[in-house]
Subunit: 205 residues, 2 copies
């Protein structure tokens, strides 16, 4: 069985990573979503085990010490992390795992999973990004300002990714991500077993 | 404007390159098919300028001398070649060009277009390949034997390609090729202008 592929959906704050991710999963139910662990408070409507695993700081720090995270970071005073065992096990079972994380997290994940597929979601323009960040009613003025200036500085990380998807329309962006997954599954280096199988048939003849 | 992408559809004899190519073009009419030049006799139903440009040996040899081919080869006593100017001009205009050629030709095209996308079409099994080659009523017994043993030896070229697509069902194989094209257009190295555009908007603010 082929090992699964880790697909990392990342990009600056406000690019719409979460929405694109949801649309991808709606179209490809066999994909397995990696759920992160965080110490931040749930936003209205967020569900435990679906959006995040919400845990306390002492528990999170214990998991850090035990090296249980694929990546973790402290952002705006809260911890966020991806439990390593969850991802590893799914990939071993041949399942593709989709992981939505910020840029810091993606850079750490890249070190541990160099054969992962790293997709950078960008807004169609910086004006649009500003609008989207401001549209989030859950943030304070100061948080908005921080997010916007961070998003700007994060653009330079584009070159560390494999693919870039412009999120002008969610359904189109999701279709592009799905095409990228299909294409990656066709890559020669991920299919050397197929070659050997055809070769063996040859020997058998 | 972004330069177009050269998509090379190749693979062993009998894998169904031509049928997959036709189905891809039916679904993506904006793709531009590169028509090859050959000295072989037209098969029943083949149309000049659609399937091939059919020319005589003296004219073909003149074009070789003038270095007018992206690649050319002599196969089973006939010349086949891809006129270079046609492909170059379309790529410069930002159009994507699809090229269906045998493995020898693909290897030469790779030297001249290292940023091309090379897709290897394989039959689902060697038994199926044998069936398909025998099913071609246009070949003599000797031609069939030659084609089959050549197809076997050609399998080892898989590792020289970027992608492998199993042609178990033509519509599925074509969808995979279309996904590969979409994914390639999202590759970061093909979109550095987009990054610069976003960066410039940043400077402007």
């Amino acid at each position: 069985m082929n090992r699964g592929i880790l697909i990392v959906i990342s990009g600056p704050s406000g690019a719409g990573k979460g929405t694109v991710c949801k649309e991808v999963l709606r179209n490809a139910p066999s994909l397995c979503l990696s759920v992160s662990t965080t110490t931040r408070k749930p936003r209205s409507g967020e569900i435990e085990g679906v959006n995040y695993y919400f845990i306390g700081r002492p528990k999170f720090e214990e998991m850090i010490k035990e090296d249980q995270f694929l990546e973790w970071a402290e952002v705006y005073g809260n911890y966020y992390g991806t439990p390593k065992a969850f991802v590893e096990n799914r990939l071993k079972e041949g399942k593709d795992v989709i992981l939505e994380i910020d840029i810091q997290g993606a850079m750490k994940a890249r070190e541990k999973f160099p054969d992962g597929v790293f997709i950078f979601i960008v807004p169609p323009s910086m004006d649009e990004l500003e609008k989207r960040i401001k549209g989030r009613a859950t943030e304070t003025e100061e948080e908005i300002r921080l997010r916007f200036s961070k998003a700007f500085s994060e653009l330079k990380y584009i070159t560390k990714y494999d693919y870039i998807v412009v999120n002008d329309e969610v359904s189109k962006a999701a279709q592009k991500v799905l095409s990228i997954i299909t294409a990656e599954k066709c890559k020669v280096e991920r299919n050397l077993d197929l070659y050997l199988r055809l070769e063996n048939v040859k020997e058998g003849n």
